[in-house]
Symmetry: C2
Subunit: 233 residues, 2 copies
């Protein structure tokens, strides 16, 4: 039995350590304004990317690939790409919702002194396809988990991250010379910030409110509400 | 200018708080053995799901939906589903790799006293499609970010989580009465464990090794290696 040789450790977390972890999860924000011009130096960048690299991945395939973009011409081209995609997106809203959309700040691409393009290589040999015969899409989900690791670490470092999805991914791939088989999972702007908003931007601006978490939980089968016992904090 | 009214806070993190966050990222494991029969109680479950609920989501759409599965018949049926999918997957490997595959433990579905099925509702009105005209797949990535939040919180609580992707998702959806339009993002087993392995199972069993993180980072365009200055820790 292979498992008999496993070196296990409990390494438990104190109440205050747990509180720190819940706190960073709660205080993480999607940041589109208030970026400072200071560059994130290589030591800090390395910590962030290493946090991403310690994400789970299906078959241990580690499909994430990163591009750090600092070049101003490239950043400007990405911003122009956003503007085209955003004009198209804006045209889909009318009336009050359209006015609200026009007021939203949806990117910090020129303000943030660096971007991170996060890719998935679904064809890598690494992992030998384990776990992906039945659910091939899990490689992209592994990359999203890596992004969340990086995002939490960045928050603790005082670095804001904004995920910009209003872009034409095909044009970005061409601009950054990304091979066709790589999937563009996320385009992020990131950098040191003045501070972090207490609530998500889209909540504060009335675009959407936070759902009741309990209403999203089912028991055993879908459609049967999970009844939490007692009052939850 | 809307942003002038933003209530910002720095809420900075001490060195030891940062270390805790990096530590939980590093110590999180995909757990398939060593589950204890103790049920995760509702207060703890609520904290974990609340951590998931505080993930970023495109347009603040909060597309995650959860099913907590404790029913033994359902868990047994999911396990049988795994066995069929795994027999199919195993048949794709031959020789030494096939023998190695046969020795791997890839699920803890009967040992763990509860499962979590995590879904995405890409059709929810919430978020009003913001950010998804150009990249509709981002709703699923938001759900993966939620899973990573939950996974880190679980590690700190002494709770193991195992992501089982060797399953036939269509059959699971039928079994758990999941409406057709919801996407099955992840099927997890979870519960208290004896301890956490120091290295990922697939690394320890020689299936795959950890990639050199630096080799995955590019500068400005793909194919140009990022040169980190100085030695990184």
């Amino acid at each position: 039995m292979v498992e008999s040789v496993v070196n296990r450790t409990m390494n438990s977390y104190s109440e205050s350590e747990k509180a720190t972890i819940y706190r960073v999860i709660r205080e993480r924000r999607d940041v589109r304004t208030g970026y400072l011009p200071t560059l994130v130096d290589d030591a800090v960048l390395h910590r962030l990317l290493s946090a991403a690299h310690h994400a789970p991945s299906v078959g241990f395939m580690q499909p994430w690939r990163f591009i750090v973009i600092r070049d101003l011409l490239l950043r400007t081209a990405v911003h122009a790409n956003f503007q085209r995609a955003n004009a198209d997106a804006a045209s889909r809203y009318t009336g009050e919702r359209g006015e609200m959309y026009a007021r939203l700040r949806l990117e910090g691409l020129l303000e943030a002194p660096q971007h991170l393009c996060v890719l998935c290589d679904p064809l890598t040999e690494r992992g030998h396809c384990l776990g992906r015969n039945s659910m091939p899409e899990t490689s992209a989900y592994s990359v999203a988990c890596a992004i969340q690791n990086l995002w939490l670490a960045a928050r603790a470092e005082g670095i804001g991250v904004g995920w910009v999805s209003i872009l034409d991914p095909a044009a970005i791939k061409e601009l950054l010379r990304i091979p066709p088989h790589l999937e563009l999972i996320a385009y992020l702007c990131f950098g040191y910030v003045e501070g972090f908003a207490e609530t998500p931007d889209l909540e504060r601006h009335g675009w959407e409110h936070r759902a009741d978490a309990d209403a999203l939980v089912n028991a055993d089968t879908f459609g049967q509400p999970y009844r939490f016992s007692g009052a939850q904090p």
